[in-house]
Each structure stands twice: as C-alpha cells, then as structure tokens.
C-alpha cells in the first residue's frame, strides 16, 4: 500500500502545484507545494494553516480477488485564519477556496502507481483509484476555521509489493 499512498500524495501535489502555485509551505528549509503527509514529517505541535495535510487511517485488504485489493482511508485536513491584509475576515472565503482546490485536485479519481523507493520513480502496472470525498462540517476555534475530507484509496497489490 505504500506505493499507492506515495502515488496518491504525489498526484495531488502535482495537481495542486499546477492549479494554485501560490499555495506553498516552507518545510525543512525548502519551499514545496502546500500539501504534506503527516506521518512523513516531524510531529507538529499545531497543524500548519493554509496547506493540505494527509492523514492515513484504516486499512482493509480483499484477498479473494486474483490480485489482492488494498483499501486505505485517507483524511485530508486543512485550516485557515484568512489573510492578514483583511484582518482574518476572509477566513470563510479562504476555506471555500481550499474546498474548491481539494475538489479539483481529486479529479480524476485515479493516477498511475509508481514506486518511489528509487530515483527516478518506477512506473508500476496498475493504477491507484479512490472514491468521492466526504466533507466534514467546519470546526471554528476562535479565529481558526478548519475542515477535513475523508475518502477511500484503493489499489491492487502487485508482485513484489
């Protein structure tokens, strides 16, 4: 499933960079597209704002098929305080923009599976695919508004995985 998780993240990251190059994060000394995998970074005291954070949850494997199908639940969290130039009064708009960006980068609902264990990554034989996302209600904490979207990411296990 790791190849699928990597491929899913890289697909969303590439799509986000093309859709909104302005959404970036400075992380470990480098500027990157504003999306990261929580389990692949140092623990956060507080989640960063204005970026998408992928958090992986449950895993299920269907062994009855001719190729086992693995399904992992992914939660994509994001939050914003709005912009300083508007004194945070645009935090609702900022969150709506992130909603729209997330909906856009999740389409189409599939991407090629690659192995990122070596550079350059190696194309594999199958595709990673996912369901439509379910958005949670907005959570308000003082001047911070946040939301998450959950979806199931599926892949077929290939030989050697």
């Amino acid at each position: 499933m790791q190849n699928a998780k990597d491929s899913f993240y890289m697909a969303l990251r590439t799509r986000l960079a093309a859709l909104n190059p302005e959404r970036t994060i400075l992380l470990r000394g480098s500027v990157r597209p504003g999306i990261l995998v929580e389990e692949a970074e140092a623990p956060f005291n507080q989640l960063p704002s204005d970026v998408f954070i992928l958090r992986w949850h449950g895993l299920r494997v269907d062994q009855d098929l001719c190729a086992a199908m693995a399904t992992a639940e992914c939660e994509i969290l994001y939050q914003t305080c709005g912009t300083q130039s508007f004194g945070g009064l645009d935090r609702g708009r900022s969150l709506s923009q992130m909603d729209a960006e997330l909906i856009a980068i999740l389409q189409p609902c599939f991407t090629a599976k690659l192995s990122y264990t070596a550079t350059p990554p190696t194309p594999m034989l199958t595709q990673v695919f996912w369901d439509e996302s379910a958005f949670t209600p907005i959570v308000v904490q003082r001047d911070l508004v946040s939301r998450s979207a959950k979806l199931l990411v599926h892949c077929y296990q290939e030989e050697g995985e």
Binding site: L65, C66, C109, L125, T126, F129, H154, Y156, E158, E159
Partner: protein, 324 residues
C-alpha cells in the same frame, strides 16, 4: 522488449456515460461504433457524429431473448438449442434536461417551441411563429451569417432552431436527424424547424450574424436554411412517431479498461416520465432533482460479418498489461 503483466480482477467502475448518434431513418442506416478505431476516444470529446449526453444513472440492460430446446429420444433430452425470439431493453435516467435527452425520454416526437408572433391564436405546442430569417452563404456549424437587419432580431443567450422550410413533403422530415414522420401534408411552413434537432444556444450577436455556444448537430447549414428563435421544448403524450437512435454506453474501469455497450438501433418505448430525487436524504420533502427516465427497445441489425441478426455489441478493452 519484454512486457510485464498483472492479473486484473473484475473492473471497478462507478458510473456510465451515454452517447447517442442519429439513425438515418429514410435509409434505415444506424451509426456504428468501431472499438478498434474509436475505442480510446476522450470521454469528453466523442468521435462525430456521437453526441455526449453525460453521465447517466440507473443504467439497466435486460436481454429478453428466449431460447428453447429441441428434444429428442425417449425419455426426451435436449438435442440442441434454438433462439426463438430476439429482444432486449435498456432503461436509464438522464441527469440533464437538453433537447436530445428530453427527446430520448419521451415515447413520441419532440418539438421546439418557436417564439410566437404577436396577436396569434394560442396553441398547446406553440402558436404561429415569428417569421424565419434566411441564413447567408459561408455559415458554419458555430457561426451563422445573417443580413444585418435580421441579426438585430437576435440576442445573446437565445436558442435558435435552424432547418429548411416545410414544403409539403411526407415521410421522415428533418435532416440529417429525422424528428418526425409526416403521414399527410400539413400547412405549417415552420414545421421542420418545430421538430428539428438542429438547435443551439447563441453566445454572441454581431452585425453580420450569430456565434453559437455549441456546434449545430447537422453541421454547416445547407442552402435555403432558415432560423427562428426557440423559447423551449414540448412533447406530447400520444402520437405515432418513435425516436430511433444509435446508442453507446461506456464504463471506464479503475485501471483504464473500458466496457462498451453499443446498440445500433434503440427506439423509445415508454411515454415521458420523470423521477424526483431529494437533494437531501434527511429531508425527503425538500428540494428534489427531477430526472428524465428513458426506456428503450433494441431493434436488430444484420452483422455483415456473418449475416447474424444482433441487438447489441458488448466490447471490452482490457487495461494495459492485464492478463486476458
């Protein structure tokens, strides 16, 4: 170069996309889909003359063909099988209301409501229309040239119907898509524009003509074509005309495989019917989306390959590198 492969489980897909293309009713020639040449077309851009009708819902196909056994011996045992009847039905729900989806979801002819002239007698399917204007030479499927005085009568955002004057002919009318069958001559010169599928939305009006937001299904206008403003569409419960179209349904699998269901000839069988789907399952009495329900009967074609009569072709294009 050696290839690697994988064992592909059953295709995983979530929805079905529908494409329809006209049948030449006069010559009884359907539009055929060739998966070897057209199988990898972009779903948003089907090959001509297929018209994309978008994703559909509740797609169901039911084979009603019957076979029976020829029995022989004592006690009788099956010797062989024979196909007694050949029949198949298709049903679905369209997720949009357009000229074509409405027409396909009604069991009769489908008409355009031409903008009415002032002070005329009321009619249920559209009163006497404002006089049609002539299309000038050089027009294309998306750009209609008009005399400047005529262009001033149109506005951006209006819908137009473009076709020839009715001249007393009988039989199938509307070209290249037949929209009706005239049993005996009628007197309405606008009749063909009332039933034509050659409609489009005007995106811009210039002093020399109209720019259309979508290409006319019939392509560039032929000499003698005229156009009129359409205010909406109407169909009737009753009548003797059945829509007949070629149909193509596509399922796109998660691994890039494709399943095609190609019905060369589908005729509508059920009268106009809608289904209301509440936008919120928690509020079934709230706002609801109204979907067009369509039911079709498949008619046979003779496959020139071997002379067999068939109703449907199911094609499967496997995913790359999948074992078959």
């Amino acid at each position: 170069m050696a290839a690697t492969w994988f064992s592909a489980p059953a295709p995983v897909t979530r929805r079905v996309r529908a494409y329809f293309a006209p049948v030449n009713r006069v010559a009884a020639i359907p539009t055929l889909f060739d998966p070897t040449q057209q199988g990898s077309f972009p779903l948003d851009n089907p090959p001509a003359p297929w018209i994309d009708l978008g994703w559909i819902q509740d797609f169901s196909r039911k084979a009603a063909s019957k076979s029976s056994s020829v029995l022989s011996g004592i006690p009788a045992a099956p010797l062989e099988q024979v196909r007694e009847t050949l029949q198949a039905q298709v049903s679905l729900q369209f997720l949009s209301w357009t000229k074509l989806t409405m027409a396909l979801a009604t069991g009769a002819q489908h008409m355009n409501l031409l903008a009415a002239a002032g002070g005329v007698t009321a009619k249920a399917d559209g009163a006497q229309a404002v006089a049609a204007v002539s299309v000038q030479p050089g027009s294309t499927a998306t750009s209609i040239f008009l005399a400047s005085a005529d262009a001033a009568d149109f506005t951006a955002g209006s819908i137009i119907a473009l076709d020839a004057d009715y001249a007393g002919q009988t039989g199938f009318v509307g070209s290249p898509i037949s929209g009706a069958y005239v049993r005996q001559a009628i007197t309405d010169a606008d009749y063909i524009r009332r039933i034509t599928f050659n409609v489009a939305l005007v995106s811009q009006v210039t002093p020399t003509g109209l720019t259309l937001a979508q290409p006319l299904p019939a392509g560039a206008p032929v000499a003698g074509s005229k156009l009129q403003v359409v205010t909406g569409f109407v169909d009737r419960e009753g009548g003797s005309f059945y829509q007949e179209w070629s149909a193509l349904f596509v399922m796109l699998g998660s691994q890039g495989e494709r399943i095609y269901f190609h019905y060369p000839r589908l005729q509508t069988t059920a009268s106009a019917e809608e289904s209301a789907i509440p936008l919120s399952s928690k509020n079934p009495d709230g706002q609801a989306r109204v979907l067009l329900k369509a039911q079709f009967l498949a008619l046979p074609v003779t496959d020139p390959l071997d002379g067999e009569r068939v109703l449907c072709y199911r094609s499967f294009l496997p995913a790359a590198n999948a074992l078959v």
